[in-house]
Every structure is written in structure tokens, then in C-alpha cells.
């Protein structure tokens, strides 16, 4: 069987047993050698310790052994029959953030150790925050030293619950709790009989089994050209590693920044040709056309482009003794290109103990903050969250040549004003002979980029007719099919944009007008906009219809008997309306005008949600909105 590879980071601080745990993992998997072990034993004895101090094994530098602290990230290796493991062992005290971020940047999993006697400390939370910031897909919280709390289930559960509650504030998706004793070996390699109440796997079993293939982005093909190979006149190959996605010969591709298109001729890997290449493979691509492509260019699919911009927001982790202030010019290395940049603004820094944002004018060593960056030429990037390879960068101080910061590009703002503010970018689209600038991208280009038509789906009907339920199912379904979808409903509009409006006829008209204009903006940038509003008046609905081309507005009538609505009454509104507490309530004290010619009419009191959902989807396919 072929082994797979798992890289993980361990974090913890003095006395939490991290070194003991790593020592045990290495020892039990036969990855500590006798001569190394004997050397450690000798030193342990010399320093008057009863037990063999496995942490000595881990401190590589003489200064570390002298000062009895770990200065730098160290890399450890062990393997089992199933997997090879690379541990990035980051020390807990000095330079903590810098080391943890360094170790975490290439990790697929993180282990946080918590001392069962002390419970959750500020630093356990700090570790969690960094793991969330670096978007490590899997987190194991190991509650250690269980032997010192009598293997108490209660203690373990209290810590787990508390940490779980805290982690809800973070962006962590997969979190596993495990009670262990690294010193005694409980639940480290095999499941311990001392904790019969624990019905999970041992730590090593978890490490062996955790599924990591799915963590990679295999959707968005991104190939930063690393090096051009020209051994002779007849061969021109582009060497590089696929950051994400997959690619095959005969696929059409687009080269950034030139915007030229071509077709993959072959994928060369050593003296073999591949039928398909995927994220992580180091390959050479050849193209059918003879184009001028060089290092720093990016090969992508025509219908799946990264952001192309010379302006973006990022989270920075500052790693230099020289703070970010005063002179703010740096070099930025992103994929295979290095460009000059200017830090325009520091929005805030994060107090990593409280997670609160603080106004600031500088960033010092180990601080994390959000900044605005302007680059000398456009970069081709994705948000870090969607794509680590095209969303990460480092800043280099041009004076010292030192790596000054690690950066993660934030998701692109969705509001119109921010979009318009983004810097203009010109890439030519040769086939259509079109040029566009950011903020001025024609709908057809959006639609080609998204791979579906844009439109407004307008759900109208009485309160309780099932609009939100159907709309939410529809949003989820379209999202999962990869569509750009925007959802507007009474709750999210009335609380914000329209919180100055009441329920009089005039206000209702204004309400729908604003919603219509909002929907139009999203529509014009390629979204399928799903709107769920009672919208009782035909003229208001017709106004929205008039904002977009004829075949792009889908009126969806949610037909439901008012008696059924009253019975459902999900928000208790009918009850209040009949009690006279809500004036102008549609269907009770205000009229509802049913659509005369809706594109789709659904009898929600007769059919179930799945049936109604497929009805809508069938319509969208038939009208070629989606495939």
C-alpha cells in the first residue's frame, strides 16, 4: 500500500507536555534511535531528573539547550504503515506567533494541548485563533495529563464544552477532542483502558485516518509559471506546480496577464506524458500556440479566472523586529512573482488574547492586523480562504532582505462602492475583442465567468405561504451547483437597508422599489438574485420586472390557502394581526393581489418542498439559466 503524507503543527507552551507527547509518538513508532535516546538519558541524569526528559531530544541548538528553551520551529519525522508524518514543532513562549504561523502555514492539521488541571488558558484560545486565521482544516484538542485528574470524564467534558463554545467565534470546521496522558501513554497510540467512558479513537489513529484529500482545492485550475524550459527550438515548456485544480491535454486555457488563449498540448512529467495533472504535482505544460509566456504569468481556465487586481485587503502577521510604520514600501512575493508594494493603510490590529480589534498606526513583531495593499502591477489571486496557494504572500524588507510579514488576502468586498473603488485593471479579451475595467464588466462576461445566466427570481405570496423555506432550499441548491447566488428577504432587508419603512401602502411600494434596485445591481454583476417578499401589489412587482431584460425576471407565485397560512403562522403574526396588534397585515387587514401571469405558480399547500424545488429547477434548466 502506498503511504500518504500528513503535515501537522503542535502548539503548546512550557509544561503542557508537548515535548513529552512528541517524544512518545516518536518513541512508540520506533523513530527514536538508541544512540539518541542514550544521549538524552545521559543528559537527563546529569541534570538530576528521575525520568528521561524527552524534551531534550527536541532542542537542536546549543543555545536552546543552554537556556532550556526552544527558540525556533523544529521539524520532526515519524511514520507508520499508513502514513508519513511531518511535525512542525513550534515553541510556546518566545516569538510565539511568528513560529506558530510559520509552522502552521504548511500544516493540514493542528494539535492544541490543554493541561487537564489548568483547563483553558488564554493561550489555548490564542492558538485557536491562529489556527483559524491560517485556515488549518483540522484541529485536535488534546486534553493532557488526564492521569493527574483521575481520568475524570467530567473534567474532560467541561473543558471540551468550554472550548467548543469559544471556537464558535472562530472559523474552524473540524474539531476533535481527545483525553490523553502523554506521560503514561493513555490514548496516544492505543485506546486506554483507564478511560472506558471515552469511545473515540486514539490520537495516532486519528492522525492516521483523518481525511485530507478533500481539503485541497481541486476546482479552480491555477498554474503559476515557475520556469520556462527551452532545450531546443521545437520545445517550449512551462514548468511549475499546480496550485489548485486539475488540467488535461486539449483543454482551453487563458494566460494572465496577456489574456491570450490557447490549448494544452501536453503535460510532461520527467520522461512521461500525463493524461491529467492535479493540485500539488510538479509538471511541465506545453501549449498548442507559440505564445510569449514567462515566469510570474499564470495559466488558468477561461471560465474560471482569479481576481486580477493591484489593490486588496489582507491580514498580516508581522515577523520583523523592525515594525511596520513610517516607510511602508516592501517587496511582495506571491506565487512566482515578486512586486513592489505600498501599504496604504492599517485598518486595525487584533488583540489575539481577546480577539478585539484595536485602532493602530503600526504593527510590531508578532502582531496581526488588517491592511490595505497597493501593488506596482496587478496580481492574480484568490481569497486565502478559497485558495491558500494563490491567497498567500510574504513581504520582504528591501533594506534588510528579511521576510517581514506573512500575508493572507481577504475575500473581495461585495458592496458596490468598494467594488467601484477597486483599481482599474485592463486585460484584453481577445476572442470577443472586448476590453473591460473593474467595475465596468459587461453582464455577458460575468455570465461567461460564472458559467450561468443571471436573473431575478421573485417569490411572492402571503405570510406563511412558504417563500423563505423554498427560497433557502433554492439558494443552497444553486450554490452547490457553483452558481453566484444572492438572497434577499424581508428579514435581511427590513432590518437594515429599509429599517426606516413601515407597512403603509406607500412604504410598501418604496420597500419594493429599493429591493428591486438592489436586485438589479446584483443581477448586472452576474448573480441569480432570489427575492422572497410578500409584495402584495401587482404594480410594485411589475416595476421590478421592468428593471431587467424581459426574460430575466421570474415571478414565482406561492399560492397557498390563507387558512393553511394561518395554521402554519411560523412567526405568530396572524395571531397578532387578528388581535389587532399589527395594522395593515396582508390577507387580514390589507389586500393581496395575486399575480395575473406568473412565470411559475406553485400550490404550496398541496405539494411538498422537494417537489416544488424540482419544479423551479426544471424551469431554470428549460430556460437555460443553468445546466
Amino acid at each position: 500500500m502506498e503511504k500518504s503524507l500528513l503535515r501537522f503543527v503542535t502548539s503548546g507552551s512550557v509544561d503542557d507536555g508537548k515535548s513529552t507527547l512528541i517524544g512518545r509518538l516518536l518513541y512508540e513508532t520506533n523513530c527514536i534511535f538508541e544512540d539518541q535516546y542514550e544521549a538524552v538519558k545521559k543528559t537527563s541524569k546529569k541534570t538530576g531528573k528521575k525520568e528521561v526528559d524527552l524534551s531534550l531530544l527536541l532542542d537542536g541548538l546549543s543555545a536552546e539547550r543552554e537556556q532550556k528553551i526552544t527558540i525556533d520551529v523544529a521539524y520532526r519525522y515519524f511514520s507508520t504503515a499508513k502514513r508519513k508524518f511531518i511535525i512542525a514543532d513550534s515553541p510556546g513562549h518566545e516569538q510565539y506567533t511568528r513560529n506558530m504561523v510559520t509552522g502552521a502555514s504548511n500544516s493540514q492539521l493542528a494539535i492544541i494541548l490543554i493541561d487537564a488541571r489548568n483547563g483553558i488558558l488564554t493561550q489555548s484560545k490564542r492558538h485557536g485563533f491562529l489556527i483559524s486565521l491560517l485556515q488549518i482544516p483540522h484541529l485536535i484538542v488534546a486534553v493532557n495529563k488526564m492521569d493527574l485528574v483521575d481520568y475524570s470524564q467530567e473534567v474532560f467534558e467541561k473543558i471540551s464544552d468550554e472550548y467548543l463554545t469559544f471556537s464558535e467565534k472562530l472559523d474552524i470546521h473540524d474539531i476533535i477532542f481527545i483525553p490523553i496522558s502523554a506521560l503514561k501513554g493513555d490514548n496516544v497510540v492505543s485506546v486506554s483502558s483507564n478511560m472506558k467512558w471515552y469511545d473515540g479513537k486514539s490520537l495516532l489513529q486519528i492522525l492516521e485516518d483523518v481525511h485530507v484529500t478533500a481539503d485541497r482545492n481541486l476546482i479552480d485550475f491555477r498554474f503559476p509559471v515557475q520556469y520556462v524550459l527551452r532545450p531546443h527550438q521545437d520545445f517550449r515548456g512551462y514548468a511549475g506546480t499546480l496550485t489548485s485544480g486539475t488540467i488535461s491535454p486539449d483543454e482551453e486555457v487563458l494566460i494572465l496577464p496577456s489574456g491570450k488563449t490557447s490549448v494544452i498540448k501536453s503535460i510532461v512529467a520527467d520522461n512521461k506524458e500525463l493524461k491529467e495533472a492535479y493540485a500539488g504535482q510538479a509538471i511541465v505544460l506545453t501549449l498548442k500556440d507559440n505564445l510569449d509566456v514567462s515566469r510570474g504569468d499564470m495559466i488558468v481556465r477561461k471560465n474560471n479566472l482569479p481576481h486580477i487586481n493591484d489593490f486588496f485587503d489582507a491580514m498580516l502577521c508581522w515577523m520583523s523586529e523592525i515594525p511596520l510604520s513610517g516607510s511602508k514600501h516592501y517587496l511582495l512575493k506571491h506565487t512566482t512573482q515578486t512586486v513592489k508594494v505600498y501599504i496604504k493603510k492599517i485598518h486595525y490590529k487584533i488583540n489575539i488574547n481577546t480577539l478585539h480589534r484595536q485602532k493602530t498606526t503600526d504593527l510590531t513583531l508578532n502582531e496581526i492586523g488588517r491592511v490595505e495593499i497597493k501593488t506596482a502591477k496587478p496580481l492574480f489571486f484568490d481569497a486565502y480562504k478559497a485558495n491558500h496557494g494563490t491567497g498567500s504572500f510574504i513581504l520582504i524588507d528591501p533594506l534588510t532582505n528579511h521576510t517581514a510579514a506573512a500575508g493572507m488576502i481577504r475575500e473581495i468586498p461585495h458592496t458596490v462602492s468598494e467594488w467601484k473603488r477597486s483599481m482599474p485593471l485592463a486585460i484584453s479579451h481577445h476572442e470577443k475583442n472586448l476590453r473591460w475595467e473593474a467595475g465596468n464588466i459587461p453582464l455577458s462576461i460575468w455570465e461567461e465567468h460564472n458559467g450561468h445566466k443571471a436573473g431575478i427570481i421573485w417569490l411572492t405570496g402571503l405570510s406563511g405561504s412558504g417563500k423563505s423555506t423554498l427560497a433557502k432550499h433554492l439558494v443552497k441548491e444553486l450554490f452547490e451547483r457553483g452558481c453566484q447566488v444572492m438572497y434577499l428577504d424581508g428579514d435581511n432587508i427590513r432590518q437594515g437597508l429599509n429599517n426606516d419603512l413601515g407597512f403603509s401602502q406607500a412604504d410598501r411600494t418604496e420597500n419594493i422599489r429599493r429591493i428591486g434596485e438592489t436586485a438589479k445591481l446584483f443581477f448586472s454583476q452576474g448573480n441569480i438574485v432570489i427575492c422572497a417578499f410578500i409584495s402584495p401589489f401587482q404594480k410594485d412587482r411589475d416595476f421590478v420586472r421592468s428593471l431587467v431584460p424581459k426574460d430575466r425576471f421570474i415571478e414565482l407565485y406561492m399560492k397557498c390557502d390563507i387558512e393553511v397560512c394561518k395554521e402554519r403562522d411560523p412567526k405568530g403574526l396572524y395571531k397578532k394581526a387578528y388581535a389587532g396588534e399589527i395594522p395593515d397585515f396582508t390577507g387580514v387587514s390589507s389586500p393581496y393581489e395575486a399575480p395575473a401571469e406568473p412565470e411559475i405558480a406553485i400550490e404550496t399547500d398541496v405539494k411538498g418542498i422537494q417537489e416544488n424545488l424540482s419544479l423551479v429547477l426544471d424551469y431554470l434548466v428549460k430556460q437555460q439559466f443553468i445546466e
Binding site: 519525522y77 478533500a214 515557475q226
Partner: protein, 308 residues
């Protein structure tokens, strides 16, 4: 999804290739240090892959002390010729003429003059700004703290407390004039990985790695190969008697200079035997490397001076 699963060896391979391409793209005049050992063999094979169908875009350089095994010289010349690489051989002739020898100078000094000085002089002579080395982090505790791209000052020295953090695959290769970078594409490989890859790729290695009956003498619990009294004790100061020379089944886990490279008792005659032996090994790979044993931080000291 499993269709897109890379084995650990393929992932290590891709990482090493990425590193090599990055060096060639960003630095002006790189060289690959070639010590003829198993790690060098793997590194060389990876370099061929990284630049196929082109030939290697850099020369190989062997820092020769004159004390290597005859099998190593023979293998080196044959193999380099076969793959069509350019090989530079550099020796610190000044100290070789002075008869620098570990038995008399001591290991540390001998290494310093013949290897470290030899390397630093050669790098300066050819104006190399980057040198690939086959060192692995697993080998030795100070190497566990080494960067993949290790910046050296104008004297070739390593400052472990002032290393650049390495994030993602974004390697900072910017250096000032006279500074150089040592690059370790095999940083994350272990001894077992190396042998598994040699098997997978059928990479030729020096026959000294395979076990056979060899003449040895035992000094301070280390099994030293005995080619002739000349190699171990050229001036006959140790008074080695023929009765001390014995024959045993042994092989070498690492290769260096004859007087400083200990053998291990072994029956491993094939690559599969070796993989099995290494997996079950109770002793570390460098336990018989006399040059590591002089003190607790022998390697760290050498690296600070400019050793790779």
C-alpha cells in the same frame, strides 16, 4: 477524490522539484554539491526530473578531500559521464599537500580545512550564489532547525538565531552581493524515504551501501574500513598490527572519508534488505560518523563555520 491522492514519495518529489526550479529561476549562478552518496544520487535524479527535457542548468561540484573510497571515485566518474552532467572537482590542495589527516589533525580541524574551507574557497572561486546540498533535517538535531533556503554571510557562516521564517512555499531568495544561499531540497526526506525512492526510481548508488565481507579494524567501538595501513595511518604513528585487522559482513549507512566513516554489521545485500534494516534500525544513521561525535554540538559548530 482518491484518484487525486499523491503518495508521500510523490509529494516529497514535487516539493524538491519546486525548490530546485525556484533556485534556478531566481538566482544567477547555482551549483549542486555532489558528494557521491545516496542523498546526492537522489538529489541528482530529482534535478534531472525538474528540468527534463532540458539538461541540468547548473554544474555539479564535488569537494574532494582525497580520502574518499576508491569505489566512490569510480562511481562518480562513471555516473556523471553517463548522465552528461558537468562536474567540477575542487580540492583544498594547500592542506592536502600539508598532509592534513584526521588521525593527526583531529576530526574537527581536518574537516574544517579539507571540507569547509574547500567548499568556501570553491564557491568564491566560481562565483556561485547558491549551492544545493543533500542534507536532511532528520539526520542531525541542528539540521532539524535549518531552513530550506539557508542564507550565509560573506564568510559562508550560518546564524541559527537570525534565520528567515519560511512560510507556505514562498521562499525568500533575495540576498546581498557576496552573500550566498545553501539550499536543501531534501529537507523533509528521511533515510527510509531516500531508500524507498531509490527503489522506486531504480537509482544507481555506490556499492559500498550493500553488505559484503570487508576488512576492518575496530577503534573506540567504531568499525573503520581498512583498505591499507596507509589510509588510516599514513605515517604509521598508531602502530596498527595486522592482527587487529578482521573481516566481517558489513556495509555503510553513510559515506564520507575512509578514516572517519564507520561501517555497520549487516547482511543487507539488496535495496529491499536495506529498507527493512533501516526501518527496524535501533541506531541513528550518523552514529558512526566520527565527525558528529566530537561534541554535543559538533554539527552546529561546523555549520556556523560554513559547512553545509
Amino acid at each position: 477524490m482518491d484518484h487525486y491522492k499523491q503518495s508521500h514519495l510523490k509529494q516529497l518529489e514535487a516539493e524538491s522539484i519546486f525548490i530546485m526550479r525556484e533556485v534556478v529561476a531566481e538566482l544567477k549562478n547555482p551549483v549542486m554539491l555532489y558528494s557521491v552518496g545516496k542523498d546526492s544520487s537522489v538529489m541528482l535524479r530529482l534535478a534531472q526530473k525538474a528540468f527534463y527535457p532540458d539538461k541540468l542548468p547548473f554544474p555539479l561540484m564535488h569537494i574532494d578531500t582525497g580520502y574518499k573510497f576508491p569505489e566512490m571515485y569510480e562511481f562518480r566518474d562513471k555516473h556523471v559521464k553517463k548522465i552528461g552532467a558537468d562536474l567540477i572537482v575542487e580540492r583544498n590542495e594547500e592542506w592536502i599537500k600539508k598532509n592534513a589527516h584526521p588521525t593527526y589533525l583531529g576530526n574537527d580541524k581536518c574537516c574544517y580545512y579539507l571540507k569547509t574551507m574547500g567548499l568556501l574557497n570553491a564557491i568564491e572561486k566560481h562565483g556561485f550564489d547558491a549551492a544545493f546540498g543533500g542534507a536532511r533535517r532528520e539526520e542531525e538535531k541542528s539540521r532539524a532547525k535549518e531552513r530550506v533556503f539557508s542564507v550565509r554571510d560573506k564568510h559562508g557562516q550560518w546564524d541559527p538565531k537570525n534565520q528567515r521564517p519560511e512560510l507556505w512555499q514562498l521562499y525568500n531568495t533575495i540576498i546581498d552581493q557576496k552573500e550566498t544561499i545553501r539550499v536543501f531540497p531534501l529537507s523533509n526526506w528521511t533515510e527510509v524515504d531516500i531508500w524507498e525512492y531509490i527503489k522506486l526510481e531504480q537509482i544507481p548508488v555506490v556499492p559500498l551501501y550493500f553488505s559484503k565481507e570487508r576488512k576492518v579494524i575496530i577503534r573506540d567501538n567504531v568499525i573503520i574500513p581498512f583498505y591499507s595501513a596507509e589510509t588510516v595511518d599514513p605515517e604509521n604513528k598508531l602502530n596498527i598490527k595486522n592482527s587487529q585487522v578482521e573481516t566481517m559482513m558489513c556495509r555503510f549507512r553513510t559515506l564520507g572519508c575512509i578514516p572517519c566513516t564507520g561501517a555497520v554489521r549487516s547482511d543487507a545485500k539488496t535495496i529491499d534488505d536495506i529498507i527493512r534494516e533501516v526501518r527496524e534500525a535501533k541506531k541513528s544513521e550518523r552514529e558512526n560518523r566520527l565527525i558528529d561525535l566530537t561534541s554535543d554540538s559538533a554539527m552546529e559548530q561546523k555549520k556556523k563555520e560554513g559547512y553545509f
